[in-house]
């Protein structure tokens, strides 16, 4: 829908200590106001234009404080898009920005398409005529590509699951409809509140499950699972400690569930890392030696990122080469540590083995090279094929936002059903849930319900 309120992160990801989530549209101020709590209790709807406010974002559902923010409010038409614009400045980490974005999206804004702020600026007469053609090309190119990426990105299993949720909702809806449009058919079972409750609860559970396991959601919540790998004494524990120390403000401890391991959770330039098996590493007990190459391969399977540590002061060993082999299909960065001692390692050979993967040299003792390593990690996450990454992120954020909305609407349906609202009203929120799920898999054909109705039931004179 055009001219609704759109939102997006408007600062490059992972750079800078501050990130901005921008909203534009008629409801920008209203939406921000729903979430914003200022220490002196003022409402954004009442403050003058082009002013900046300090306060907190509160999740209206739980009442919890989500973020400490600075918020600038600019009313149209003196804005880039000529619409009301709110910019929420928050901490730069990918987690906090995304939390803010998701909150805004759940409160009535829609995730902006690529180039959409520019498009609005144009539509509202902000950009001049000579740029029209360019804008049209931009819209076409970006929307098509975003669509392709979004669809291509959908994992078959996910889209099948969503399709099955929709089918369950559709059958429920058809049953509601058939009772409405054909009340004289006494042999068609009435859709009763208990049946409706059961179906809707099931869909709700599935949506919650999906949100918990969606890849972006998982990474955002749990971090990229990262394994520090290397022979004994190359400096794995030291590397872990310096990463943790550098980023200590955001360290959290999560107790492992299956095995008794402590995982370190650090945020490197906006990229959340979960350093796995750190307990073992800390005790200088070598993971490779302990469980053997075969089994370490198993352990490595779940990793999103490997940091392979080599010793600058020693020649490459057979084990080193074997580690390269083990991780060849994975994302990894090679860390050649201990540059403060005399070089024995053959760096050419290291580069040869690493291929397109990055190689960073460090001296953890002298605290050198750590910044470069952090940059390499951030680059791996955000750069590469920048466009694709950007779009991947967009489509994922969209899926999550839509799933959240679907959860909200199905919960409204459930609440209504429990409080004795007539079935045909509850149906409104059930239909909405069905539509939202359809947006995720790119299927919003209206006729489906009527088709379902006539294939599921035998109707008519």
């Amino acid at each position: 829908m055009e001219f609704d309120t759109i939102a997006a992160i408007s600062t490059p990801m992972g750079e800078g200590a501050i990130a901005i989530v921008r909203l534009s549209g008629d409801e920008a101020v209203e939406i921000a106001d729903k979430l914003f709590k200022s220490p002196n209790g003022k409402h954004l709807t009442e403050v003058p234009s082009h002013t900046i406010h300090y306060g907190h974002l509160i999740d209206p559902k739980t009442g919890e404080v989500v973020e400490e923010v600075m918020l600038s409010l600019m009313r149209g038409p003196k804005t880039f898009t000529r619409e009301d614009v709110v910019e929420i400045n928050c901490h730069g980490g990918i987690i906090s920005v995304n939390r803010v974005l998701q909150l805004v999206l759940r409160s009535g804004a829609r995730l902006a398409e690529p180039g959409e702020f520019t498009k609005r600026a144009f539509l509202n007469g902000r950009i001049d005529l000579s740029q029209a053609e360019a804008v049209m090309d931009l819209i076409r190119a970006k929307t098509d590509r975003a669509m392709n990426v979004a669809l291509g990105q959908m994992d078959g299993k996910l889209s099948r699951l969503i399709a099955s949720l929709r089918q369950a909702l559709l059958e429920t809806l058809a049953q509601v409809e058939v009772n409405i449009d054909y009340p004289e058919y006494d042999d068609v079972e009435e859709m009763t509140i208990p049946v409706l409750l059961e179906k809707c609860s099931w869909v709700r559970e599935e949506i919650i499950q999906l949100l918990q396991t969606s890849s972006q959601g998982k990474i955002l919540r749990e971090g990229l699972s990262t394994v520090i790998l290397g022979r004994p004494n190359v400096g794995k524990s030291s590397l872990l400690n310096s990463l943790v120390q550098e980023n200590k403000a955001i360290v959290t401890e999560i107790a492992g569930t299956t095995r008794d391991i402590i995982e370190e959770y650090v945020n490197v330039r906006g990229v959340p890392l979960r350093l796995v098996d750190t307990a073992g590493i800390r005790e200088t007990e070598d993971i490779v030696e302990r469980i053997g190459v075969e089994r370490s391969r198993e352990a490595l399977k779940g990793a999103d990122l490997i940091l392979l540590v080599l010793n600058y002061g020693e020649e490459l060993s057979i084990e080193d080469e074997r580690l390269f082999e083990t991780i060849q299909a994975m994302d990894y960065i090679v860390v050649v540590n201990k540059t403060d001692i005399e070089r024995k390692i053959d760096l050419n050979r290291v580069h040869e083995l690493a291929g397109k993967h990055r190689v960073v040299t460090t001296s953890l003792l002298k605290e050198e090279g750590i910044i470069e390593l952090e940059e390499a990690i951030a680059a791996l996450f955000f750069e590469g094929q920048i466009e694709a990454n950007d779009l991947t992120y967009v489509s994922n954020a969209r899926h999550i936002a839509l799933l959240h909305q679907a959860q909200d609407t199905i919960e409204e349906a459930l609440m209504a059903a429990e409080s004795g609202v007539p079935v045909d009203m509850i149906q409104i929120d059930v239909t909405r849930t069905w539509e939202i799920l359809g947006e995720i898999i790119g299927d919003t054909v209206q006729e489906s319900l009527i088709n379902q109705l006539f294939s599921q039931f035998c109707l008519g004179k």
Partner: protein
């Protein structure tokens, strides 16, 4: 060839006097256009070729809408029904609907009488063969016997008559419904004029004599025993009602069908037209839902002064001798005498995307089509279109503003928008699920939605309008009062609340909020905080619905607001879609075909995606900027 002669000049000519034609003619005449209504057979005005019933879910709301705009259907059925029932009373207010069983003969007579009274309307029996077109504009029509009638607006409402063919078993012959004369030359003429036609099919069940029905084997289905009416003007109610009867198909029915399936024209391939899914023949039902042991059969009287009974549920085009076996297999109908056999009928209709939302054809200025000819099915769908086509034709002649209802105004808006924007590949029937804002399109508020529009067009009398305004005002005032006045938690209050099983009050509460509780009704609130004015039942219902479902209604209203913004983004009529770079080929074709009037309409076209809409917006904006620059 007959010798042509000049037979007269009118403002509006309506071809056809079915459910679409009568509304069109009445509306045009009432609005002040000098109107002529032509029909093949004057004894068949407003004839019901299929079931003797009016209304039902969605359709019943259309009848209310027709009445709110000043149309006829509601008033006439109120006078001529044999029973009426409110449906879906156990559900929410959005889906309640009225259905009447009609005395189909009385209905026709009453309709004919009302039309004959209209001073501005001339009625004449004639077969129209040809349209007179000059430079893309309609100028009049020529009848079979050569009479030339001239007019600047013509509305065709030919129903299922265009190249109609009746099919029973392996027999197929040229005919209109119920063996009336088909309309063949007109169909050819429309084709010659370049209109795209599509072949559809529908069918009807056999009729039996009720003298030979054993009702003891059936269940009675009486009407409601409270007064009911479609029209807001009706003051007299028919309480002497006739019941319908319910029975079922038997194993034997299914066996007869299976044994004779090879004789069905549906399966032999003789029928080529597309039939409606919601109106399947019994042979369709039995084969498609083979696991269903039995199907419902309703026995509906065709009128008070006839013994003929319509056998709803047994629509078929099997040969007559098989139909007789079918009837005999139904409990209660073992010895029933068949009076007419069921049949299927194929006919031409106009592909409706060739129409503007006013129902004027895009190709020929001043030519309108309405009713089943536009691919719909059903009396109410036809009547609604007829009314709007009549209003628009008259408006055009009289130089008034066109009347287009939006999807949030009325079911009729949904119907016409669907037809002209999406087209249809089967006979189109309204269903409540076709309306995305059905909570707003209720039976109870049709007058609030549409009376003003009818009044502006001149179809609602001053007296009725004044009454309507008073009602509106009383509702608004009472709503305001209930939102204001606080009910105290005293013993009287608690007693009333206890009596309906509610939770007692801890604090004072506004009347409106107390009424929102599921168990509370207006009368309870009014007993606690009495109003100076005594509200009518209608008004009380209105208040209750508006307050109880306020949350849902507001949500729907917000959606409507959003859509209205896009509705207000008009697409210039002279837009050149070929000149817009970037629009996908399929979208371009669809846009050129449908020629949507607004961005909202464009976005509803299948095959036009959001990127195309964006580009369209940019282009339209560009045009605007260019104009500003030029000035």
């Amino acid at each position: 060839m007959p010798t042509n002669y000049e037979a007269g000049t009118f403002d509006v000519i309506v071809v056809g006097a079915g459910h679409a034609g009568v509304e069109a003619a009445y509306a045009a005449a009432r609005m002040g256009a000098k109107t002529l209504m032509l029909t093949i057979n004057l004894d068949m005005i407003a004839f019901m070729p299929c079931n003797p019933s009016v209304g039902g879910p969605a359709k019943g709301i259309v009848v209310r809408e027709i009445d709110a705009l000043g149309g006829l259907m509601g008033k006439v059925i109120d006078k001529t029904h044999i029973q009426m029932r409110m449906l879906n009373t156990g559900k929410g207010p959005a889906v309640r609907a009225l259905r009447a069983q009609a005395d189909k003969f009385q209905y026709q007579h009453e309709m004919k009488r009302v039309l004959e009274e209209e001073p501005n309307l001339q009625i004449h029996q004639a077969m129209v063969d040809e349209l007179i077109i000059e430079e893309g504009e309609i100028k009049g029509i020529i009848t079979q016997i050569g009479a030339i009638y001239r007019a600047a607006a013509v509305i065709i409402t030919s129903g299922t008559f265009l190249r109609g063919e009746i099919i029973i078993g392996n027999l197929k012959y040229s005919s209109g419904p119920n063996n009336q004369q088909p309309s063949i030359k007109l169909a050819d003429n429309l084709k010659e004029l370049g209109l795209d036609l599509i072949r559809f099919k529908t069918g009807t069940p056999p009729r039996v004599n009720n003298r030979t029905i054993d009702y003891s084997k059936t269940e009675i289905q009486p009407g409601d025993d409270v007064p009911r009416a479609f029209s807001y003007e009706t003051t007299e109610y028919i309480m002497d009602q006739l019941p319908c009867w319910l029975t079922y198909t038997s194993e034997q029915t299914h066996k007869v069908i299976e044994d004779n399936l090879h004789l069905s024209p549906m399966f032999s391939g003789m029928i080529k037209g597309t039939g409606p899914r919601y109106c399947p023949s019994i042979e369709d039902k039995v084969t498609r839902f083979s696991d269903k042991p039995r199907h419902q059969i309703f026995l509906e009287p065709e009128g008070r002064n006839t013994r003929e009974v319509y056998v709803q549920g047994l629509s078929t085009s099997l040969p007559e001798h098989v139909q007789k076996q079918l009837i005999a297999s139904v409990p209660g109908l073992e010895n029933a005498e068949m009076m007419r056999a069921g049949y299927a009928i194929e006919y031409d209709s106009v592909v409706p995307t060739q129409l503007w939302p006013t129902l004027e054809t895009k190709k020929i200025s001043g030519l309108y089509t309405a009713g089943q000819i536009n691919g719909t099915s059903g009396y109410e769908e036809a009547a609604g279109q007829g009314l709007l086509a009549g209003m628009n034709a008259a408006a055009k002649i009289l130089g008034r503003e066109e009347i287009i209802l939006s999807r949030s105004d009325a079911y009729m808006g949904v119907l016409i928008d669907d037809l002209v924007t999406k087209g249809t590949n089967e006979p189109y029937r309204l269903l409540t699920s076709r309306a995305e804002y059905r909570l707003l399109l209720r039976h109870d508020n049709a007058d609030l939605r549409l009376t003003e529009t009818g009044y502006k067009a001149g179809l609602i009398s001053e007296e009725r309008h004044a009454k309507f305004q008073l009602k509106k005002q009383r509702i608004e005032e009472e709503l305001a009062r209930l939102r204001e006045v606080i009910i105290k938690p005293n013993e009287t209050t608690q007693a009333v609340i206890r009596s309906v099983g509610g939770a007692e009050l801890k604090d004072g509460i506004r009347g409106a909020d107390l009424l929102k509780r599921t168990e509370m009704h207006y009368e309870h609130i009014a007993s606690l905080i009495p109003s100076d004015v005594v509200l009518s039942e209608d008004e009380q219902e209105q208040i209750e619905i508006q307050l109880k479902y306020e949350g849902y209604i507001q949500k729907a209203m917000q959606q409507v607001e959003k859509m209205k913004k896009l509705e207000n983004k008009k697409i210039p009529e002279n837009i050149d879609y070929d000149a817009i770079s970037g629009i996908a080929t399929e979208a371009r074709m669809k846009l050129k075909d449908v020629r949507p009037l607004s961005i909202a309409q464009a976005s509803r076209i299948a095959g036009v995606n959001p990127a195309d809409i964006s580009i369209l917006l940019v282009y339209i904006e560009q045009g605007k900027i260019a104009r500003i620059n030029m000035n």
